[in-house]
Amino acid sequence: MNDALLAASIIWLFVFMYAILGSVDFGAGFWGMVYSQKEDDRAGALANRFLSPTWEVTNVFLVMLVVSIVAFFPAALSQLSLALLVPGSLVLLLLLIRSTFMVYAYSAQRFQRALSVVSGVTGLLIPALLVLVLPIIAGGFIDSRTGQLLSDKLFMSPVTYAYLAFGLISELFLSAAFLADYSREADDEEAYVVFRRFALIFGPLTLFIGTIAVPLMGEQASWLRINIEGNRWWFFASAVIFFIGYSAYWWPTKGHHHRRGVPRAAFTLFILQFFLASLAYGVSHLPYLMYPVLTIKESVTNHNTFITLLISYGVGMAILVPGFYLFWRLFLKDKRYLHQE
């Protein structure tokens, strides 16, 4: 594998990881807001219990994604920065509001409600806006003279709304599926029932919107549509895995007849589904980083820097593994934390 392809694969992996983590994080914020309406609602409390210790860590994954793009594909930056100034700055503003207001809401009793509504709603919009990067880099929305984004054209185009809806719905779906699993881990059947219901609603919707987005790609990104259609079996396999995962919500549980479904299996299979689908999307996107001006080969960094970066990733991750393990034990596994009243 050459440097360019390896670098692209690493970036792709980070995009995939952040897509899952970010969806769960922002989605949990939204569910936490919806279900903290009533004083004693367990679903809201559970979502917040997950969120308080994890949001900072999730945010580092976002930073990691940005930093790795700079490090691996420096030559792409001038084009990318022009194209992404508007959505990027919007996301930054929303992110600032979302995180600070969420932290404020933990600390101030008086305006807790208002603060958590603001952070919940802004959090809902962030993944939807982030997904907009995809149609932009697929081409057709850039002024070829100035390199800047044609915002009007972007917002007039139906495919934009397909992507937006996809971002929004998959955020709600993934976070509900995750929280269903988290509630089961916490032995909280009441919350489980709530999140299972939402996973059941939003799952098929995600699949539906994903499917209709492809024919909507139209003129501008026909190259991508053709590639995607060429890889259709990958997408098909991912849909099959989705349905198996979906069915897991009805699988019997050993020893507990009143409990319906195995959410751990469902969530794991959904991750696999997203993995396959986004891998197929990524492969279809090659060799372009941004169509038609940037290919990965032309943008990749020099070999020395590339090797040093790879080594630093290896060493850094190895050092951090015990920290992540401890973190997981304390907040995703420890019954004393999960089960707080």
């Binding site: 308080s52 210790p53 994890t54 900072e56 860590v57 945010n59 580092v60 930073v63 990691m64 940005v66 930093v67 790795s68 700079v70 490090a71 691996f72 594909f73 420096p74 030559a75 930056l77 001038s78 990318l80 920065s81 022009l82 992404l84 100034l85 990027g88 700055s89 930054l92 503003l93 992110l95 600032l96 509001i97 979302r98 995180s99 600070t100 932290v103 404020y104 600390s107 101030a108 009793q109 008086r110 100035t146 800047q148 960094t301 020099n302 020395n304 820097t305 040093t308 970066l309 630093s312 990733y313 850094g316 951090l320 920290g323 992540f324 973190f327 304390l330 907040f331 420890d334 934390y337």
Partner: protein, 453 residues
């Protein structure tokens, strides 16, 4: 304002905003760590209470530090893409390694805050240590990137201007990195300490009699002044070193910082005053004879270059002299102040501190934060017109995008709003949990877990 000026203003204010919270994010964990340690040594429960309350403040500040840092990181690419092309090829390493520092801080901060009641004392101290380590590493690593902009090394330019023979580690350990990194850390610890000292002094002024809360605040004050004294001494000594690096590597920056036009030996150190570029002299400054030469080279006959040796279009802006004087002035003042309080206590004994001294101490925190701002604006503006010293001009680094003004207005408004609301949230949080009440509850251990939420 043209687009370049707007980009500079937008980026400068984002950093100016981030740095307030980030510096405290480096300084406060050290104070928390010290309080935890002191508790283990003295078994005085006041110190755990301090650690707990400071941790809460730190958690609120992190809520702003983290997204604002994310903004800075993304804006670097959005506003200075051509600079980041260089970064990506040459100095990506510190940004990369910094991620691990972020992970370290974020993981252990959550562990320390939300799992404190489930950890053994050793593991608790260890996690607050990792928080402090993560924050300090973040500061030192980003400084490496900034130092590289001042003294770029670790690459060669080919005839056609492309970058070749990149040596990432050499770029990382560029000549001004050691002095700058240590200076940033010392100044951040010093700021954390003086901010705590300010608050403690304010609280002591409010108390009518010398009861338990008064003693609690006095302990906090003396602890923070001890650390503040050590760190401000370190800051000054290391600032001296940083000045020597300037003398060798960026002489026009030092000349601008000192308003020095004529190259000379036995050069005086000028404090205050305004640089007049028209008449080419410094107006209204206090001059300490021979001192600049001594600072620059440890000898009075060191020749210090003046601005006239350099082409006029590479002169840094003249206000850098004011920024530099203010930074040094504040550093000296706070060092003397902290030293004086400890001296006073040592000579007079007892626990009495006069009210005028306490009043003086209340300004230490804000002044220290200002010094941080002055120092950074000095290092970034003093590099002008270069973004990468002698390689890339700021006008060559900027994005071609237009319409930045809208974003500037939006970001500035949010920053102002968040500055106000953060102070307000802090106040209302601690007002709800006055120290009297918490001291009264000290015996009941059960509250700890829930309190930290």
């Amino acid at each position: 304002m043209d687009e370049l000026m707007t980009a500079r203003a937008l980026f400068g204010s984002s950093l100016g905003f981030h740095i307030l919270f980030a510096t405290l994010g480096v300084g406060l964990p050290l104070m928390i760590f010290m309080a935890e340690l002191l508790f283990q040594v003295t078994k005085d429960k006041d110190y755990t209470l301090m650690a707990k309350r400071w941790t809460k403040a730190q958690a609120i500040l992190l809520g702003v530090a983290i997204p604002s840092g994310t903004i800075v990181a993304v804006q670097l690419s959005l506003l200075w893409p051509h600079f980041m092309e260089w970064v990506g090829q040459i100095i990506a390493l510190p940004f990369q390694v910094e991620l691990f520092a972020f992970f370290l801080e974020a993981l252990f901060m959550s562990i320390y805050v939300y799992a404190a009641d489930r950890l053994s004392p050793t593991l608790r101290i260890l996690s607050v240590f990792f928080v402090a380590l993560g924050g300090s590493l973040s500061g030192a690593l980003i400084t490496s990137a900034n130092a590289w902009m001042n003294t770029p090394t670790g690459f060669d330019l080919a005839k056609d201007g492309s970058i070749i023979h990149v040596r990432p580690w050499e770029a990382f350990f560029n000549p001004s990195f050691p002095a700058a990194a240590i200076h940033v850390l010392f100044s951040a610890y010093m700021t954390g300490a003086f901010v705590i000292a300010s608050i403690a002094a304010l609280r002591m002024l409010k108390r009518k009699k010398k009861d338990a809360p008064y003693h609690y605040h006095r302990k906090a004050l003396m602890l923070s002044l001890a650390i503040g004294l050590i760190m401000s001494l370190g800051t000054a000594m290391d600032g001296h070193w940083a000045g020597q690096v300037l003398h060798e590597k960026q002489p026009e920056k030092l000349a601008a910082a000192e308003g020095l036009f004529e190259t000379q030996s036995y050069a005086p150190l000028a404090l205050g005053g305004v640089t007049d570029t028209q008449e080419q002299r410094l107006k209204g400054a206090v001059e300490i004879p021979w001192m600049l030469s001594f600072l620059a080279g440890n000898r009075f006959d060191t020749v210090v270059q003046g601005l006239n040796d350099f082409p006029r279009d590479t002169w840094p802006p003249s206000y850098t002299h004011t920024l530099f004087s203010l930074m040094i002035g504040i550093g000296t003042l706070l060092m003397i102040l902290a030293g004086f309080v400890w001296l006073y206590r040592w000579r007079k004994g007892g626990d009495h501190l006069p009210r005028w001294l306490l009043r003086l101490l209340t300004v230490g925190g804000p002044l220290s934060l200002l010094a941080i701002e002055f120092g950074w604006v000095f290092t970034c503006s003093g590099r002008q017109p270069w973004t990468v010293y002698q390689y890339q001009r700021t006008s060559e680094a900027v994005t071609a995008a237009t319409g930045l003004m809208t974003w500037f207005v939006l970001f500035i408004s949010i920053y102002v709003l968040l500055l106000i609301s953060t102070i307000w949230i802090m106040r209302s949080y601690f007002r709800k949990r006055p120290i009297e009440q918490e001291l009264g509850f000290l015996g009941l251990e059960g509250r700890k877990g829930e309190e930290l939420h």
